[in-house]
Symmetry: C2
């Protein structure tokens, strides 16, 4: 079999944040599969077929990529950010494990990218500069009770926290509940970053105390980062800098 699958991270949006490794894989590909807005970031060219699909069909998309590679195609599965963080890499391996034995002989690589929390953190300063956790706030694939449990334990551990998928039209209540849990567990006014569409023309950053954070400050394009108890804000003429000291 000469086909392969590369599961690649396109980073948060800015082309200057796409690694040369990912660029080379796209240049060598015959087929690109992924969620519609991510495939739209790949320039069309002769010899490249773009397969854009809707959200929530990750397993079908993964199986399609593996099938094409088994047929000799050079397939890039695109995710935004890093493919290994709440993105397509796990879906591809779920499909691999459930699929025909022959797929296991395929050349499958994961090509890392700049994940949203690190792009957002960089724009704001260094809020993830010491121990932290990353939590997907979507309860599409896990029970909400597990999310709440993790929020309480993360607060007790005094981790900074990065939230992916904080809020969507189909899940308007969860993030409001998450903020209530955190206000109860943290009992202070630690800073919270709302970073929307980082590195795109729609980029918008906002830092507020936890006591003033409101659910409607986030949507599906927003990364939310909750400081640890030691996270600080430095006021500068260029705006606030958010960072967590190395001793946190």
């Amino acid at each position: 079999m000469s086909g392969w699958v590369a599961i690649a991270g396109l980073g948060p949006g800015d082309e200057a944040l796409v690694t040369p490794e990912v660029r080379a894989a796209l240049d060598a590909a015959t087929d690109v599969v992924g969620y519609i807005p991510y495939v739209a970031r790949v320039a069309p060219r002769d010899g490249l077929t773009l397969h854009a699909s809707d959200n929530r069909v990750e397993l079908d998309r993964a199986a399609h990529a593996l099938e094409m590679a088994a047929a000799g195609k050079r397939v890039v599965v695109v995710s935004s950010g890093d493919p290994g963080v709440f993105a397509m890499a796990s879906a591809v391996f779920e499909a691999l494990e459930a699929g025909p034995e022959i797929w296991r002989a395929l050349d499958i690589r994961v090509l890392p990218g700049i994940t949203a929390m690190l792009a957002a953190a960089a724009k704001a300063g260094a809020p993830l500069g010491h121990d932290f956790c990353a939590i997907n706030l979507s309860d599409n694939l896990k029970p909400w009770a597990l999310i709440e449990k993790r929020l309480r334990l993360a607060a007790e551990a005094d981790f900074a926290m990065a939230f992916y998928n904080p809020r969507s039209k189909s899940r308007p209540e969860g993030f409001a509940r998450a903020l209530e849990v955190l206000r109860d567990a943290c009992a202070d006014a630690r800073p919270v970053l709302f970073a929307r569409a980082v590195s795109t023309p729609q980029e918008d950053l906002c830092i507020v105390p936890l006591t003033e954070a409101r659910p409607e400050m986030a949507d599906m394009r927003t990364m939310v980062i909750i400081g640890s108890s030691l996270t600080r804000v430095i006021d500068t003429p260029r705006g606030p800098v958010l960072y967590t000291p190395r001793s946190a």
Copy 2:
């Protein structure tokens, strides 16, 4: 002031993992500061002064960078991986906060990079594919008791865990103790990844059950990733694939 500071991530080692944004900053710089092995990754050229310094002088290095920028230099502070994850960004902001008021007017940017845990995860599969935490196991700047507390709470939350700085010659005991704590808290044979020098010629990956993990499997160039209770290994003709399902 025409000077600036860019705190830039060089990624784990492979040049194909350095973002174009970081490359452009290095091309525009007059001065590069950083830990000796990271500065060694920057090609010398006319008009560029390289300032390499030893480990554990992060604050001095940060102040030096800010001083040079205040004097009009274009300074890149280099870290391996991502500068915002257990690296130089927090040190620069600590120096900024403690330093002269005039520094606050400086143009200071953080340029993200591929951090070690995501490079290691990509090479192994997708072990950080669902909720996870990142913990610095060095107790140089925080008490060991806090590290143990975080390990126990992270196990209770069933996070996958990525450990930076697991073990060094000056701290040979901590990682052994961390493994004991985890074996006690997890009570299962979940997979553990030891990923050394990822994306360099010395790269070496090893996956073992937690029950068989030994302290000497890690050194300062090793990322250690502990699976959650649901992390799985798929056997393939090309070697094991480690991943955490999206429902974890």
